[in-house]
């Protein structure tokens, strides 16, 4: 499932998967524990495309030695990662309800030693790109052709270590790194541009020697295209600035600062489930009508 051609039906399937993942996120936070909803929902399309289509992985063999690897540098997107992993078959969806509860494998931030399939623990921002650079250096030494994917946030661009790692990856021409910036324009305390502006990101990454693309990060087809293009360009590490929407998928959450980390009331949960059902009906009506 790593070829670069896809039909409209496959795109439709991915969109449906994204709805399933959003449902998983709702359940995880409603039945489990309050979570970082906003930044998880904005990364749904990226993570779904990665785990279902772009990456070469095997849920039955999470430690498979030739797998592509994924570093979730914005570790607070753990709910999004768990939701996709459950949909992909790494563990039963029922376990999502243990999220954030005592004794769970599903920690608020990712713990590689608790949950197989996590390639690096995270939660303290800014460290993932360096780890990915080390992984890519090792793969080159070992003659492994696999890719290392990274998910970062736009708020995370404020961490200095990201730019140290950006220099390193460019210096060593680590073209097996494909990094996504889930650019949902918001951080804990408000809009990124108001707190500490990180733009212009395209020019910044280009000037650091990276191959840069900017896409609509809520559009699965654009995500697939960008990843395919990144794989074809050699000699530079790749970053895909994905414009996303914090809280994507639910009208009362989108672009609302409070949804960085608050939980759902029962009414909000029911409303969100209904919005997913409506979106599902729209997709179902499109099935079979694709090109």
């Amino acid at each position: 499932m790593t070829n670069n051609d896809w039909s409209q039906d496959e795109i439709l399937d991915l969109k449906k998967k994204c709805l399933e993942v959003r449902r998983n996120i709702l359940d995880l936070t409603f039945y489990g524990s309050s979570s970082h909803l906003g930044g998880s929902l904005s990364s749904v399309e990226i993570l779904t495309c990665l785990l279902f289509r772009i990456m070469s992985i095997n849920p039955d063999l999470p430690q498979w030695g030739k797998r592509d690897r994924l570093v979730i540098s914005k570790g607070h997107a753990a709910p999004g990662m768990y939701a996709v992993m459950a949909a992909r078959g790494f563990f039963p969806a029922e376990e999502l309800k243990t999220f954030g509860k005592s004794g769970t494998r599903l920690q608020k931030h990712l713990d590689m030693h608790k949950l197989p399939g996590i390639d690096a623990s995270s939660g303290s921002l800014g460290q993932g790109l360096s780890i990915a650079a080390g992984m890519a250096l090792a793969d080159r030494m070992d003659g492994k052709e696999r890719f290392t994917y990274v998910l970062m946030g736009d708020g995370e661009m404020q961490e200095g270590q990201i730019w140290e790692a950006a220099l390193t990856a460019a210096q060593h021409k680590l073209d097996k790194i494909i990094a996504f910036v889930d650019d949902n324009q918001m951080q804990v305390d408000g809009f990124t541009k108001d707190i500490l502006n990180v733009e212009p990101l395209v020019q910044k990454w280009e000037s650091f020697g990276w191959h840069v693309q900017r896409i609509d990060g809520s559009d699965v087809e654009q995500i697939l295209k960008a990843a395919a293009l990144a794989k074809s360009v050699q000699g530079k590490p790749h970053v895909i600035i994905a414009d996303t929407i914090k809280g994507k998928g639910f009208d009362f959450m989108e672009l609302q600062v409070e949804w960085h980390s608050r939980g759902l009331t029962e009414d909000e949960y029911r409303s969100a489930v209904n919005q997913l059902a409506a979106a599902e009906a729209v997709l179902t009506a499109q099935t079979g009508k694709g090109a």
């Binding site: 590689m112 030693h113 390639d119 690096a120 623990s121 995270s122 939660g123 303290s124 800014g126 460290q127 993932g128 790109l129 360096s130 780890i131 990915a132 650079a133 080390g134 992984m135 890519a136 250096l137 090792a138 793969d139 030494m141 070992d142 200095g160 270590q161 140290e164 790692a165 220099l167 390193t168 210096q171 060593h172």
Partner: protein, 312 residues
């Protein structure tokens, strides 16, 4: 006094490279200070100088380790501990990565650079991290033993390195297991437990004390964590008081570690020789030893104090 061994860290890496093809060596623009040049020249494909990016250096080391590499990363002790503490905590200790952090010119051995470069609290910081083994090797022989032990035992470790050359005090066969504290001199009146550069000073101090009829046991202790509790408790029981000697703040280092052990199982006086809650300054080794009270006279005074306390 003792024969010197040149570039013990660099020489250790060259030896390990022959038996450990997975070894990767990392620098952050201090390759000359870390004596890694020979390794870089002989194994360029297994060597990366990451420039002045210490936080990034920890993460890259972690990523290499996550891919099966045995990683030795070195820079000044202050930069590889206090500067990047969260990176070490999360990317190395929490993830249990096979990364060996080597701190060069620890504490007052960085006399020429002064306070900003003197890691007075590196051992305390590293000792507080779960999963982290911590070493302050007493000589070049011990440093070599630490490097070989760590190469064969996956997991995070912090070791203080020795720049340019270091004394050979220990018998290599006896020192092969760096976790074991070694009794170098017998005595019944007190025990001096010394780590790092303080071993030479401790031996000089007990020679002086012997002239006054005080028989002092000397223990060389390179591994602060996990610490050799058995030897410490035996010394506490048999000599009734302990002096710790460390090139480090007395808050959280060797003296604290020894106190923690005896306090729970065999309470005896523990008098700490070390740096007393201070930042450093430039100066010769002699000047700094006197100013920060980690010289031979300070060990002498501490032993006398400990012996007096024992009588109470």
């Amino acid at each position: 006094m003792y024969p010197k061994i040149d570039k013990p860290y660099g020489a250790g890496l060259l030896k390990l490279a022959e038996t450990h093809p997975e070894l990767v060596v990392i620098d952050a623009d201090l390759s000359r200070a870390c004596d890694t040049g020979d390794f870089a020249q002989k194994y360029p494909e297994r060597y990366f100088n990451l420039g002045v990016t210490e936080a990034n250096m920890i993460g890259v080391s972690a990523g290499l380790a996550l891919s099966g590499k045995l990683v030795f990363s070195a820079t000044f002790a202050c930069f590889i501990t206090q500067r990047v503490y969260d990176q070490v905590a999360i990317s190395v200790a929490y993830m249990q990565n096979n990364v060996k952090l080597c701190g060069i010119e620890a504490a007052l051995t960085s006399g020429s650079n002064g306070a900003t470069h003197q890691s007075m609290m590196d051992l305390a910081l590293m000792r507080a991290l779960p999963n982290m083994r911590v070493y302050d090797p007493v000589d070049a022989v011990s440093l070599n033993a630490v490097m070989h032990y760590e190469a064969d035992h996956p997991g995070p470790a912090y070791l203080r390195g020795i720049r340019k050359s270091g004394p050979a005090i220990l018998d290599p066969a006896a020192a092969a297991d760096p976790r074991k504290a070694l009794i170098l001199r017998e005595g019944r009146d007190a025990t001096v437990i010394a780590s790092g550069i303080m071993l030479e000073r401790a031996l000089a101090a007990v020679d002086e004390l012997a002239k006054t009829g005080i028989e002092v046991r000397v223990v060389a202790l390179s591994c602060l964590k996990p610490i050799d509790e058995e030897t410490i408790l035996r010394c506490a029981a048999e000599t009734g008081c302990i002096v710790s000697a460390e090139n480090h703040t007395v808050i959280g280092g060797l003296g604290s570690a020894v106190s923690e052990v005896v306090g729970e199982a065999c309470p005896v006086p523990v008098v700490k020789v070390g740096i007393h809650d201070a930042f450093g300054e430039v100066g010769s080794a002699e000047y700094l030893a006197e100013k920060f009270r980690i010289g031979v006279p300070d060990i002498l005074a501490a032993v006398n104090k400990a012996v007096e306390l024992k009588k109470k």
